[in-house]
Structure formats: structure tokens, C-alpha cells
């Protein structure tokens, strides 16, 4: 690769000159390549490694004989490249150079020439390559080289650090890529290499101990690693590592690969450092955007575009509040520097005008936003107003382009100009005017008004007044000024009339509602027609959601609940329907119209309680760990006690999942929901901690988990709406009756809300007091940031626990007769799982259908089966690699028919492994024999007719189709003459036959597994030939191939003659009654036949060896077909299993071959080391 010539002062150090001529020298870096011998090379290697100088190992220098100065004109990663350049120089340049008189002219000419070459090659390089700086590119190359990573594995960043390991720490480089964490150090000839997958990481934390000071601790199932001495910011490294680990966890949860954001490439932001990798920038952006979305409760499409410091004018107190303005695709948001002082969200869809206000001469840089609701926002003290205006105009034109089909208005940032956007203004935006008349347009409390008595009414009216006043002062709708006053008002409760509105605003659901008009009605239409598991589950729970409310005693409430839940399950199949959603949805329906309730449910399930309701309830479990962590920090004594009782990690699960709706009466829980929509999950943590702390003393007295649960249940169900008399909290604590269970006879002890009919009894605490206390005690002690970082920490643990669980499930699915070492099997499982995840990450495999929907257990498809079969089984290891795909598809198809599963599970795979590799020889042979018996083979025998070049996966699919469709079988008779030969009359296949077949199958399964011998049916000629072909295929690569081949021919001949003998015999001694006697005579007869008819035998031998020599299965089939036609069988060709075993055992090579035992441990090691290389071959896409 040509480079712009630059001066090099010392040409000799670190480099060895390989070729030279008058004007040029080609050099190689010392210590590069395999010939690293000698101290100098070692030293250079170490220096390069430690300092990360990473020069490309080859270069060409230009020098004139009388000059001291060298010019670097080319470098390359490989010697081939550099030789090409060298050749070019010799061919094109050297002759010209001799024509010059002065050396200065020569140098000048060379420089010009090379520069022009560089300039020429520039435009041809792809744009993407420009995205990475050259330094980074070199590191990336090194990363791929060192760790043999496939090109699609992209490096994100690398850091110098020290790997703490005995006896002495290794200084080196930590490479972080999307799926791997790698470490490399090269110190005085000693190489240290670590390659970890993020999905294997089970723990990641910062530690500071005596042995490992200031380090990052990474743990996997096998080992712990400590990295220390980070030169760059350690927390930055840690942040990136935890981000990547969490992405890996997400991959484990959702089975989704990472998709990079290519838009980022075109984005030219001025404040991003250029030396970072493009992916690092991408990841940083993601992290920032995520934080931004979480703060302002925006939907996942929003990407943070930039931030700018400024101040916002707050009309209610006539001040300029300092803070930061955030810009994203569709929103302009403001957040004050002082936490919670002010927050404003302005959707660009609402923006009517953005103008340049204020006196420019006076240096005021002020921007005024006016929305279509006739409210305006004044932003002053903008750092860089022109930039802001330019950005805003870009964003606005995009927004309105989308909305008004090309009618975009632009903004020139030079003078006080206006943008007028009317298109948005006339759009009707009232969500309640939904076209769909079946959908409920009003809250259920309007349909079923609850009688309100004196006190409540008064409080409600008071609240109503306060909120009306607040709206007047601070504005209404999504762009209202959100201040600490708002927060305070919310903690005191929202009046029923405003609940929907306020919930929508603070949850951000209002944005979804107004940007997706009519979507809900469409979802409902589609969802209700579906018949699926989710809908069944929903149906079962409709009456078990909020049974205490009259609205859900009638069809109006029930139908609305059904619609909203089905629509959600349809919208998000990842979640589908999870119990607890029904309770939340029904309360939402009480206070909101149906469509509003739907979007609130979306906000809860997807943003406010992330991953809570998915198939493995991951989010809720994570938060239980977070809760325990917080409890330990704030109420340590109680935590210790609860841990002793075995209640940690469980106690608050339902509280969080149902937002307290399952444990207290809904009219109290809605007050918590008020706070929850404003604060997010922090509100729930606050409340939970407060309740536990308030009951600490009583709980400490409990002696078992039941007692503690009972206590909490009583306390929770005793929470009431209105404080009747002022109660001191401390007193309340002591006064709450907490009788130990054993002392009383609690006939009919009420449990939670289930006994709400007896609501009156044992009042514990007023909800308002509880909320007040929760804010007083924990509002400042608990931050959202803390919760987030704890979530990151525990997500690893929870997800890996779940992985462990699915591994245990898989282990359990292995039947007892399989005698493998358990640890080896676990290794095998993890290996296959990792392999699968990798394929998903690369997009090579589709995640769906590859996992059992509920248990998450791993399933193995044909492709994986093939890889694993080759890697682990002796049959696979020695098989003919060219025929391999075909043969394996056959075996996979056979195996999947055998187990009646497609794809097969891990347990089945292990059984195949055992039956081919570890079982004793008779079992192995029996498995082999059974695989080739009808009904197994009948269906799979046609696979050889498929085109060899087909995708293997397709083959598997087609192969499996054969099992299902009998029609295909019978219609393709001409492709296979075997059919007519097959004695099991295929034509009469019916369901009853299938039934019989499955019975046969299970007998076979038992036969292969059980200790006692179960008589197997005899094998006919067709199947025998197929079996013999497979046999040949599976030892093709064996070291004793020759001997085995001879043995196979010999045994094959013998068996053929035996079969024929049976045929002759049968026709002679018909009917046969005594089977045992016949077998005896068969063998004798066969020997007789063999001696009597050498000619016939020879011809058969030919026939038999023909298929063995041929690579194409087609010929094989043809040959046998011919043979069969030439010699129409008078009787039936039959081989019994006993004959098969007996004759195979006569030949030592075959006996040895089938006696070979699999060494799982070694195979696993081999597979592990090979897998990366194999993946490289999988990839087809060029590097960039």
C-alpha cells in the first residue's frame, strides 16, 4: 500500500533489509513472523507489543546514494503485498530514475509519483474504510490475526493493561470486540493469549483488593481473570465491558444479534473524537441515547443527536433556569442542571415556529419555540446558536417531510426568520375520536361510577382544584413545565379525572398515542382472529384480573380487557401474555379510554419495566436482586434475617410485577402507580423498602418464612385509603398486631386482596402516609442511576442462572443408559449453545424455532448436527468429507425420525453420541442396523437423489418433508426403482400403518436401550445395500481405511450370499415355522452356495464393490437396480441382525472400528480450538 512519502531518520533500528537496489530498500520488521530468533527480535517484539507501536511488518524506503534521509513510501501487512509494490517500482520507476541528473530531482520525482499513486488509490477505497482511522485499522488487523477472528467480528476498542496472574503479571493489550474479550501479551518470547466470549462471562466487577488492586474482575464458569494497571480511564473500560456483557445477555434473552447503526457513518458531529473506532462511537451513542430516552421516557426509535448548554425561561417564576438542551429525531428536550428543578419535552411534531429572538447586537443568543397549542418556550444563553438552529432546521424538515409528504420548509439561520408549518396544525389529534366503534372510548369508572362518600369527595375536589391551578400555571399536555412542584403534587395523588392525562404525559405514552393514530384498532382486529396460546391464557384470566370491580363483572369490561391484552400479545410476541399484565391492564382501563390504556401498557412493558414480562421474566428477577442489594444497604439487619428465612429474592416479586395490585386494594395501589408513572421503577423500590423498614421489628421476630409472609400479607391488605386520624408512624408500627401463627388458630385468615370482602379489618397504614414516608426516607438515598448500575450488575447473574437452568433441563433429558461423564456433557452443552449463539450473532441462523419456546432448551438443527457429528462421533470423524453433508443429513434425518423430533434436542443428540461412540459393540451395531430398517430408512433413502450442491439446511428440510408427505414418496417412484423391490408395500401406507410404524419405532428404541435383546425384523436387500454404503462412508478417512475396506467387502459378500441363501431357502422350505432351525441351515446353505456357485458370487462381488468405489450415490442405486432387474428374486432376500453382527465380528478391522470408544474430553477440546477457524470459513462477506 502506497503512502504519502515521509521522512525516516533511522532506517536500521528494528528493521531488517530484505532487498535493496540503488534507490529503494525493502525492509521487514524484526521479531515479525515465525523466524523470531535472537535477542534483538525478542526485544523488538516486546517493545512493539508493550508500546503498541504496531507498525505494519513490511515497508519500502526510498533513498538516494548520497543522501542521509530516507523516505517511507510503502508498507504492507504481508510479504506478498510488499513484493507486488517492489516489482512495480522495479518495472516502472527504476529505469526512469536513471535518466535524471541530480539526486534531488530523483527524490522529487519519486515523491510526486508516489503521491499521485496515493491520490489515485484514495477514491477507490470504500467509504467504510474511511470511517476507521488507519491506526485503528492496523490494530483491528492485528486483533484478527492474533486471535484468528473471522472478519465479521469487529474490534471496538483496545486498551493497554495488565493481566494479573501468577507468578508475574503480564503487561499487554485488552481487545474488546462485539462478541469477545481478548487479551494478548508478548513479553520476552512468552506469549499470553486469552479469548473469552461475552456470553460466557458470568461476573464482571470492579475490585480493589490487596492481590488485585484497582482491577476489573471478569469471571467465567471456569476461571477468574483480573486486569489491572489501566493507563486509560479504568471506568471507561469497565463501562464498555459491562455494556458489551449486557448486550451479550440480551442476546441470550432475546436471541438477537447486534445490528450496527450505519446511519452513524454519515453523521458528522463535530464533538466526537476521530481516533475511536466507528463501533465504539456507535456504542457510545447507544449508551447516551438510552440514558436520554430513559430520562424523557421516549420510544426506542429516538436517537440522541446532540446536546447544547443553555437556559430556559420559566414564566411561572420569571427566571432563566440553566440546563442542557437535548436534540433527537423528533423531540427537543430540556433538563435543568439542578436535579428535578425543571424538565420540558417539546415534540417537533407540535412545533409551529422556531425563531431567532432577542437582540443580536447585544450578544443575546435566544431561540423561541412556539407550538401549535399556542405556547412558547424561550431558550437563552445558547452556546452556539447557529449550530443549534441549523440542527433544528434539519430535524424539522425531516419531521415535517415525513408528515406532510415533501412540503418541507427550511430555516435559514442568518436572520430572524420564521418557519411556518401549518400542515400539522389542522390534523385532528383527539385520540378519543377513534374510528373503531367497538373500542371503549371512555374510562370504565365513568361507566361504573363508584359511590364516593364525604371525606373522599372533599379530598378529591381539593386535588382537582390544585391540579387545575397547576395546569394553568405550568401548562398542560406533553410540553408542560415539569418541576419539583409537579412531583410534589403527584405524590399527593392525582384526581380521577386527570389520572389518564397525567399518566399519559409522564409515562411518555402520549407520544406513542399521537404518533400511531388508529394502530390500536388495527391490532385489535388482527389479534382477535388469532387462535394461539396467548389468547387462551388471556381468556382464562379475564375474570381473574380485577374481580372486585363491578366493571369486570360485565361484558363491557371483560371485552375491553380481552381486546387490550390480545392486541398487546399480538404486537409483541416476545412477551405475548404474562400474568400480572391483566391486573395492570384492568386498572388502566378503569381510568383511561381503551386506546390510552393500551399505550400505557406498552410503556410499562417495554420502557418502565423492561424485560419484566418476557418468557423468562428476566427483568423482574433482576430487580429482585437489585431489591436485595438495596435492602442489604439500607436495612441490613432485616436483610440478614430474611436471608436466614430464605425469603430474599422472592418477597417483592409480585409487588413489582403487578405494581402492588395483587397485594393491596386497587384504589390504594393507583396512588403508587401515580408515582410510578412519574418516577419510574424507583417509586416501586422506595415503597417496597419503606414497607419492609416499617415492619422491620415485627419481621425480625418471625421464625419461619410463612410467618413473615403472613405478616406482610396482612400489612399490605390492611393498607387503606384515607387517614381517619393522624397516626404517628412509630406508634403504628408497635400497634400493628402481629400474632405468631402457631399461637392462634387462624381459621379464615385473609390473604392479600383475595379476601377483600373483609376489607375493613386490621387497618395498617394509610396509602398517603406510606407514599410520604417512602419519599422522606428514600427519595434522595436512591437514585435512578444507582438502580440502573445495579441492574447491569445483576442481569449477568440472572441470565447466566437461567442458562444454567436450561443446561440442567437438558442434562435431565438425557436417559440413564447413556454413560458419559456429567461434566463432559455440560461442556458439550455449553459448547453447542455458544456455537448456536454465535451463528445467531452472525445472522447465519435464525433465532426463532431454534429454542424450545418455554424452557429455552437448546434444539439442534441439521446444520449443527452435522458439525457436531463430525466433531464428536467416531463415525463422523472418519467419514468421507465430500460425501459428508449428504451422509450426515441422512443420519440426522434418520436420527430425527428415530426420535420423532425435528430438530432434535440435546438429549437426543447425546444419545446418538452414545450409541455411536460409547456403547458396547453390539449396541452400536444394533443402532446402525436399526437406522437402516424400515420404517426409518424407507423414508430417508430418497435423500441421495437430491442435488449435492443444495444448501444442507434445505436438504434437511426436504428430508424431513419426506417423513410427512406420503404423496411425495409415491409420486417419485420413477426416480427410484427400489420402491418396487421393497417388500413392505409402500402403496398401502395409511394412518394405521403410521401407527404401526411408530409402535415399531418405540420397540426399536427399547431394543437399542434395553439390556435384554429384543428380536429385530430381518433386513431386505435394498436396505442392506443402503446400510453397506453408509458403512463405507463412515470410515473413509480412517487410518486403516484399506483394511476396513477389504473387511467390508468380505463381510458384505458373505452377507449377500447369506441373504440369497435365505431367499433360496425360503422358496424351498416354504412355509417356515421354526425360525431358529432355519437360521442354522441358512448359514450352512450359504456356505454351500458360496462354494457351489463361485461364478455367481463373483458377479455379486462386483456389484457390491461397484457402489463402494463410486462417489455418486446415483450410480449405486442404478447398479443395484440393474442387478435386481437382472436377477429377479424368486424368494426374499433377508439378513437378520444376528447374521449381521456375527459376520461383522469375524473381521478384526471392523470389530476394532466398532469398538473404538469416543474420547469426549479430547473431542471437546479439539472442537473448541477449531471452532473459530470453522467460523471463518462460514463467513462469506468481505471484511468491509
Amino acid at each position: 500500500m502506497w503512502v504519502k512519502p515521509e521522512e525516516v531518520l533511522i532506517a536500521g533500528a528494528f528493521w531488517v533489509t530484505e532487498q535493496t537496489n540503488m534507490y529503494f530498500a525493502m525492509q521487514k520488521r524484526r521479531g515479525h513472523g515465525h523466524g523470531k530468533k535472537g535477542l534483538a527480535s525478542l526485544l523488538v517484539g516486546t517493545i512493539d507489543s508493550v508500546l503498541d507501536t504496531k507498525p505494519p511488518p513490511y515497508r519500502i524506503l526510498h533513498q538516494t546514494p548520497n543522501s542521509e534521509v530516507y523516505y517511507l513510501i510503502a508498507y504492507a501487512m504481508t510479504s506478498k503485498e510488499i513484493l507486488e509494490d517492489w516489482e512495480w517500482l522495479n518495472k516502472n520507476l527504476l529505469s526512469t530514475l536513471f535518466n535524471f541528473d541530480h539526486e534531488d530531482q530523483i527524490t522529487e520525482f519519486v515523491r510526486c509519483k508516489i503521491e499521485s499513486l496515493v491520490a489515485h488509490s484514495q477514491p477507490s477505497t470504500p467509504v467504510l474504510e474511511d470511517a476507521e482511522s488507519q491506526v485503528f485499522q492496523a490494530s483491528s488487523d492485528k486483533f484478527h490475526r492474533l486471535f484468528e477472528m473471522p472478519p465479521e467480528e469487529k474490534l471496538i476498542n483496545y486498551y493497554p493493561c495488565c493481566y494479573l496472574i501468577k507468578p508475574f503479571p503480564r503487561q499487554g493489550w485488552l481487545y474488546l470486540s462485539l462478541n469477545h474479550m481478548c487479551f494478548y501479551s508478548y513479553i520476552f518470547g512468552g506469549e499470553t493469549k486469552i479469548i473469552l466470549r461475552w456470553t460466557d462471562v458470568i461476573g464482571l466487577e470492579k475490585t480493589n483488593t490487596y492481590v488485585a488492586p484497582q482491577s476489573i474482575h471478569v469471571s467465567t464458569r471456569h476461571q477468574d481473570y483480573y486486569f489491572s494497571w489501566f493507563i486509560t480511564n479504568k471506568s471507561e473500560v469497565f463501562k464498555l465491558m459491562s455494556q458489551l456483557a449486557n448486550m451479550a445477555m440480551r442476546q441470550l434473552i432475546d436471541q438477537e444479534g447486534f445490528h450496527e447503526d450505519t446511519n452513524l457513518l454519515s453523521k458528522l458531529s463535530k464533538n466526537l473524537p476521530k481516533n475511536k473506532s466507528y463501533l465504539k462511537r456507535d456504542l457510545d451513542c447507544r449508551a447516551h441515547s438510552e440514558a436520554f430516552r430513559a430520562t424523557f421516557r421516549l420510544s426506542p426509535e429516538e436517537k440522541l443527536d446532540g446536546t447544547i448548554n443553555c437556559a430556559m425561561w420559566t414564566p411561572f417564576n420569571k427566571r432563566h433556569e440553566k440546563g442542557t438542551l437535548y436534540l433527537s429525531n423528533n423531540y427537543v428536550c430540556f433538563k435543568s442542571k439542578i436535579e428535578d428543578a425543571l424538565m420540558v419535552i417539546i415534540p417537533l411534531r407540535d412545533v409551529l415556529v422556531i425563531e431567532n429572538a432577542g437582540n443580536q447586537a447585544a450578544g443575546e443568543s435566544t431561540v423561541l419555540f412556539t407550538t401549535k397549542h399556542k405556547t412558547s418556550f424561550l431558550v437563552s444563553q445558547v452556546d452556539d446558536r447557529d449550530f443549534l438552529l441549523q440542527k433544528l432546521s434539519e430535524l424539522l424538515s425531516k419531521t415535517h417531510h415525513n408528515r406532510s409528504s415533501g412540503d418541507s420548509t427550511s430555516l435559514s439561520s442568518s436572520s430572524n426568520s420564521f418557519i411556518l408549518l401549518e400542515s400539522a396544525a389542522d390534523e385532528e389529534r383527539n385520540p378519543r375520536n377513534s374510528q373503531c366503534d367497538q373500542v371503549l372510548n371512555q374510562p370504565l369508572i365513568d361507566v361504573f361510577p363508584m359511590p364516593i362518600h364525604g371525606d373522599v369527595l372533599e379530598i378529591e375536589t381539593n386535588r382537582y382544584k390544585k391540579w387545575t391551578k397547576h395546569f394553568e400555571e405550568y401548562g398542560r399536555g406533553v410540553s408542560m413545565y415539569r418541576t419539583s412542584e409537579t412531583a410534589e403534587l403527584i405524590t399527593k395523588g392525582i384526581p380521577d379525572k386527570f389520572r389518564a392525562e397525567v399518566w399519559l404525559i409522564f409515562s411518555g405514552a402520549i407520544n406513542d398515542l399521537s404518533t400511531h393514530p388508529g394502530l390500536y384498532a388495527k391490532l385489535v382486529d388482527q389479534a382477535l382472529t388469532k387462535k394461539n396460546q396467548a389468547n387462551d391464557e388471556i381468556e382464562r384470566d379475564l375474570h381473574r384480573s380485577l374481580p372486585e370491580h363491578p366493571a369486570f363483572h360485565e361484558s363491557i369490561g371483560i371485552n375491553a380487557l380481552r381486546r387490550i391484552l390480545s392486541a398487546y400479545a399480538y404486537r409483541n410476541p416476545q412477551i405475548g401474555y404474562c400474568q400480572a399484565m391483566n391486573m395492570i391492564a384492568s386498572v388502566l382501563l378503569l381510568y383511561c379510554s381503551e386506546e390510552e390504556a393500551f399505550w400505557l401498557l406498552v410503556a410499562i412493558c417495554e420502557r418502565l419495566l423492561p424485560d419484566y414480562y418476557n418468557r423468562r421474566v428476566v427483568g423482574a428477577q433482576v430487580d429482585q436482586h437489585v431489591m436485595d442489594d438495596l435492602l442489604e444497604k439500607h436495612v441490613p439487619k432485616l436483610y440478614a434475617h430474611l436471608q436466614k428465612l430464605g425469603l430474599t429474592g422472592m418477597i417483592c416479586l409480585s409487588w413489582f410485577l403487578t405494581l402492588f395490585l395483587s397485594v393491596m386494594s386497587y384504589d390504594c395501589a393507583v396512588y403508587i402507580m401515580d408515582c410510578f408513572f412519574y418516577e419510574g421503577v424507583k417509586a416501586a423500590f422506595q415503597i417496597a423498602l419503606t414497607m419492609l423498614e416499617m415492619k422491620e421489628d415485627a419481621l425480625l421476630k418471625c421464625r419461619d418464612e410463612g410467618e413473615a409472609m403472613q405478616l406482610l400479607n396482612e400489612y399490605l391488605s390492611g393498607i387503606y385509603l384515607i387517614k381517619e386520624e393522624p397516626i404517628d408512624i412509630g406508634e403504628d408500627l408497635s400497634r400493628t398486631p402481629s400474632p405468631p401463627i402457631a399461637m392462634t388458630i387462624p381459621v379464615g385468615t385473609p390473604v392479600g386482596p383475595k379476601s377483600r370482602m373483609e376489607k375493613s379489618h386490621n387497618k395498617s397504614v394509610a396509602i398517603s402516609t406510606l407514599i410520604y414516608e417512602s419519599y422522606r426516607r428514600f427519595s434522595t438515598q436512591l437514585t435512578r442511576k444507582e438502580i440502573e448500575s445495579l441492574r447491569l450488575k445483576y442481569r449477568l447473574k440472572v441470565v447466566q442462572n437461567l442458562e444454567e437452568q436450561s443446561m440442567r433441563t437438558a442434562m435431565r433429558s438425557i436417559p440413564k443408559y447413556v454413560q458419559f461423564d456429567k461434566e463432559e456433557l455440560q461442556e458439550l452443552f455449553l459448547l453447542l449453545r455458544g456455537d448456536h449463539l454465535w451463528q445467531v450473532a452472525c445472522g447465519a441462523a435464525s433465532a426463532l424455532n431454534s429454542c424450545d419456546e418455554h424452557s429455552g432448551a437448546q434444539l439442534i438443527n441439521a446444520e449443527q448436527f452435522r458439525n457436531a457429528f463430525i466433531a464428536f462421533t467416531p463415525w463422523g470423524q472418519n467419514a468421507n468429507p465430500n460425501l459428508a453433508p449428504l451422509a450426515f443429513i441422512c443420519i440426522f434425518a434418520l436420527a430425527s425420525t428415530y426420535f420423532k423430533l425435528d430438530p432434535i434436542g440435546f438429549g437426543e443428540f447425546v444419545q446418538v453420541l452414545y450409541l455411536t461412540g460409547k456403547a458396547d459393540i453390539t449396541k452400536k451395531l444394533m443402532f446402525f442396523f436399526i437406522l437402516h430398517l424400515p420404517p426409518l430408512l424407507d423414508t430417508t433413502i430418497e435423500t441421495p437423489t437430491l442435488d449435492l450442491e443444495d444448501q444442507t439446511a434445505e436438504m434437511a428440510a426436504e428430508a424431513s418433508e419426506f417423513f410427512c408427505s406420503v404423496e411425495t414418496l409415491t409420486s417419485e417412484t420413477d426416480s427410484l426403482s427400489l420402491k418396487s423391490l421393497s417388500p413392505t408395500s409402500n402403496s398401502s401406507r395409511t394412518n394405521s400403518v403410521d401407527c404401526r410404524q411408530s409402535e415399531e419405532l418405540s420397540t426399536f428404541r427399547n431394543a437399542a436401550v434395553s439390556e435384554t435383546t429384543i428380536p429385530l425384523p430381518e433386513m431386505n436387500q435394498t436396505h442392506f445395500i443402503a446400510m453397506w454404503k453408509t458403512l463405507y462412508d463412515i470410515f473413509m478417512q480412517h487410518k486403516n481405511e484399506q483394511e476396513l475396506y477389504h473387511a467390508v467387502v468380505k463381510v458384505g459378500t458373505l452377507l449377500t450370499s447369506l441373504g440369497d441363501a435365505g431367499k433360496i431357502l425360503k422358496s424351498a422350505l416354504h412355509p417356515i415355522t421354526n425360525r431358529g432351525a432355519v437360521e442354522e441351515s441358512k448359514v450352512e446353505d450359504a456356505v454351500d452356495c458360496a462354494s457351489e456357485l463361485p461364478g455367481v458370487l463373483n458377479s455379486r462381488k462386483q456389484n457390491l464393490s461397484l457402489p463402494l468405489n463410486s462417489d455418486r450415490s446415483q450410480e449405486n442405486v442404478g447398479a443395484t437396480g440393474d442387478f435386481a432387474e437382472k436377477h429377479p428374486p424368486p424368494g426374499e432376500f433377508k439378513i437378520t441382525f444376528e447374521q449381521f453382527v456375527a459376520s461383522v465380528l469375524t473381521e478384526t478391522p471392523l470389530d476394532d472400528f466398532f469398538n473404538e470408544k469416543i474420547d469426549l474430553k479430547n473431542s471437546i477440546e479439539r472442537f473448541r480450538s477449531k471452532r473459530l477457524l470453522r467460523h471463518t470459513s462460514l463467513s462469506s462477506s468481505p471484511e468491509y
Partner: protein, 206 residues
Amino acid sequence: MATRKKVLLKVIILGDSGVGKTSLMNQYVNKKFSNQYKATIGADFLTKEVMVDDRIVTMQIWDTAGQERFQSLGVAFYRGADCCVLVFDVSAPNTFKSLDSWRDEFLIQASPRDPENFPFVLVGNKVDLDNRAVPQKRGQQWAQSKNNMPYFETSAKEGINVEQAFQTIAKNALAQETEVDIYNEFPDHITINNDSRNVRSDNCSC
């Protein structure tokens, strides 16, 4: 033989969502049926004192969540269980099919000392319904195949057979509990007990 001290029995009710676990528990403890129960999230429990063989025992009945995705979350409560009640809905064959997995999961998670002889009771609920789909014989066969566990057909709604089922549950749980008690109190006398089934290698409380 056994002491006269108060005994606490822990009973776990397992089964698919909607088979009537909560109703059974409430019918037994509170003697009433309501169609106003909410779906159980996490776990719930009730206690009841009963007389078994002239002894007063407190039954702690744990009701668990049935939806599949919650299955792994309930396991924390399985520990220390004295009896496990498997419930299915006689009108829903699927709930019968998943009995095996509930039983397996319980045995693995609760890891009782003697899994072979751990007392299970099978309950086929909702016999009051007309659309019965799982015949009595199938239930009996399954129960027989699993170490001959007792099988009851109940209706939590009508209160049919509920009392009897729980009596058996209490009895079997107590039998289990008593055995443990003997060892806890007379750890030195293990050898005098000739019933080989009762001799265990570990008599610690873990």
C-alpha cells in the same frame, strides 16, 4: 412414640394456570368458594390447624403461580415441603399432560431426602363441570405409576372431596414429618429401627 409438640406441615400446591389451586386451598381453609380470585402471581399461602391422629398440626398451604413462565420462580418456596399436591383440571387434558414436568421439577428443586417416597397427592379438580375430558381411569393409572400416590377427584366449587383430599395430604405429610422428628430427637437410636427404608446416611438438617 412421637412427641406431643406442635407440628408445622408445609404443603405445596402445584399445577397449571387455572386448574383451581387457589380455589381448592380456600375451599379447604375457609370453606367457601368464590369466583373472585385473582390469578396468583409469585406465591400465596394460608394456614389451618387440623387434627391428625389425635395430634394438632398446623398446615401451611402454599399456593403457587401456574403460568409456565413463573415456574422457575416458585422454586424458592419448595424447600422444606412435607407434601406436594399436584392439581389438574379434569376438563382440560393439557393440564393433565404437564403433571410429569411439575412433579420432576418439584423433586429436583425441593430435593427431598428420599425422593422415591416423598408424599405426593394427585387431585383432579372441577369434576362438577359437564365437559370432562380426562377419564378417571387415566388419572388413576398415572397416580399408580408414580409410586401409587393417592388420587382424588374434587370440586372446589361444590366442595366435593376437598376435605378428604386434604386429610390424606395432612396424614401423609405428617408421616413424612414424623420420621424426620424421630431422628432429630433420638439421633443415637437410628440403629434400633429395623426398617431399612428409614435408615438414612445423612441425618443433618440440610
